[in-house]
């Protein structure tokens, strides 16, 4: 055997070893972190209940239902639309593990784009997981991607054309759940998930839909509520409540010409009050420095401090960063305020929900204090 053949075999074996270990690392993202069903959860159903076409696919995700004894209004909370926006996901998990509904029904989908949790974005250097200390030990959560895994939906077109409007966006947006609404039964994988969520809202007659997000500190719509015009009176009330409690939040109307997003399409294609909330997340931003678990949890980033000094950001940024507990607290405060505001806006849609951690308690005690032990 020639020398070159020996070296080729050695190199090929090396390649197989690297492929095996890297493949195993990538596949580990498919392992789902535990979510503990809290005392208020009355049932857990699959999203495919509302669109059987999703059954068995990575678009089929858990819907946690918390039904009160008394009939009343209903609210849907969407977490994990973009799994690289951890406060949105964690806020929905905290709801599932803590909240008790006395009147009405609360629906929570923590992993709205379940496929996007199974990978993270190439060349971003993002961590695969982050860990939260609890009194019972550590809990782990995945830090996924903004978009559906291309293994589940490919190829991306050069230009993504939104089916209902003809709006043109860059090709990769075809895998963005929050550009695919109202969805299509015979559409792409992502559009089918959108379609199932829309069907669920229509089937259950859900009164209020809150889509949780985070945004880069350099993005103008941040620490904000975006509301469909029908939801605007409620959203205005919520913004006033939050601001009067010294939680700085802006209010933006949902543009009619920006299509495919929850606050536009769910408001137009269902009877729900559609709103979206954003908090500030450095770990998804373009100006960030080192991207690691610490950045996800603390939001402390010297690069963003510098950007703030240069007046380039839309949120204040100092050495305290924007910790996860503050971002989760903002979302929870917003959700509670929306439920209260909707209840006073229309008595038929009234809900009574307890055990949502207060803003102050979440900030002072941290997320871990509100996570349950995993059996």
């Amino acid at each position: 055997m020639k020398r070159k053949h020996i070296s080729a075999i050695i190199i090929l074996i090396g390649a197989l070893i690297v492929t095996f270990y890297s493949g195993r690392m990538f596949l580990s993202m498919y392992q789902e972190e535990p979510i503990v069903t809290g005392p208020g959860v009355s049932s857990v159903v699959k999203l495919s209940t509302y669109f059987p076409g999703l059954e068995g696919s990575y678009g089929d995700t858990d819907v946690y239902i918390m039904k009160g004894r008394e009939p009343g209004g209903s609210t849907l909370v969407l977490g994990g639309t973009h799994p690289n926006e951890p406060a949105a996901y964690i806020a929905s998990v905290v709801l599932i593990e803590n909240v008790v509904v006395k009147k009405g029904t609360l629906y929570v989908i923590p992993r709205s784009n379940r496929s996007a949790f199974t990978h993270n974005d190439p060349q971003e250097g993002a961590p695969q997981r982050f860990y939260i200390e609890t009194p019972f030990g550590e809990r782990w959560f995945r830090f996924g991607s903004r978009a559906t895994n291309p293994v589940h939906q490919w190829p991306d077109p050069d230009v993504y054309i939104h089916a209902a409007s003809g709006q043109q966006l860059s090709g990769s947006e075809t895998r963005n759940l929050n550009r695919g609404y109202p969805g299509r039964a015979d559409g792409t994988f992502t559009e089918q998930v959108c379609y199932a969520i829309r069907n669920m809202i229509n089937t259950e007659g859900i009164d209020l839909s809150i889509d949780l997000h985070e945004a880069s500190p350099e993005y103008p719509v941040i620490n904000a509520i975006v509301a469909h015009e029908r939801a605007m009176p409620i959203a205005a009330d919520v913004a006033i409540t939050m601001q009067s409690n010294e939680v700085n939040i802006g209010l933006e109307p949902s543009p009619v010409n920006l299509r495919g997003l929850t606050h536009r399409e769910l408001g137009d294609s269902t009877e729900t009050f559609a709103v979206l909330m954003e908090s500030a997340n450095a770990s998804q931003g373009r100006l960030r420095g080192r991207t690691d678990e610490a950045l996800v949890l603390s939001g402390v980033d010297p690069m963003y401090e510098k950007a703030a000094d240069l007046g380039r950001l839309f949120v204040p940024y100092d050495e305290n960063g924007h910790p996860l507990e503050v971002r989760v607290a903002r979302h929870l405060f917003g959700i509670e305020s929306f439920i209260i505001s909707m209840s006073s806006y229309d008595g038929n849609k009234a809900m009574i929900v307890s055990e949502i951690p207060s803003y102050q308690n979440m900030v002072s005690r941290g997320v871990g204090a509100y996570l349950l032990p995993v059996e």
Binding site: E229, A235, A236, D237, I240, N248, E252, D309, G311
Partner: protein, 206 residues
Amino acid sequence: MRKLSLLIIIIAAASLFTIGCGGDESVSKTSQQESAVSVQVSVKALEGPIAETPIILTSAGQSADVKMIESLLKKGGMEYEINEVLDSSGLGEARTLVIAIGGSSKGLGAAGIDAEDEIDRIDALLKEAAAKGLTIIGMHIGGEGRRGELSDKFIKASVEFVDYLIVVEGGDKDGMLSGIAAENDIFMSRVGSIVDSYGALKKAFP
């Protein structure tokens, strides 16, 4: 010759680097100083009522702040009408025009108008309101978040026409709003939060 070229390149690179670093530092210091100093300009405080109902509420810049003001008026039980895109022919029987100042690109998109058209609308509306003898109250309640290139256009287009200006103080850190108020002899209240802005508005009515 080659050594000389190399030397020139090194000197040029070093000077560029020095200029670059120096520039960054000065920008950083300037902006730090700007953000640390809150400019206070003395303005004329409102001493008694100057307005009467009915109120017509509109926006300058199409931000959703107008909806928050509406929510406050509704909770306060004040008589009002709202039209975010009110034009100069729509003032009707109103005696007071309340204008929510602050730009939003999403809001302009929602209304389907561009910033220049919005400025033209406000200009014509405010001139007509002044000609009809309406009291004009401007409210900038969005704080720091409703400042910047887009919002400042609407501030400049509207504030000089108002009789009374209510500002949530985060929006006037650089003294721009109080500067215009002082220059034009406008009554002005600086308040801590949006909820306080309702108290300041109420003071304008008997």
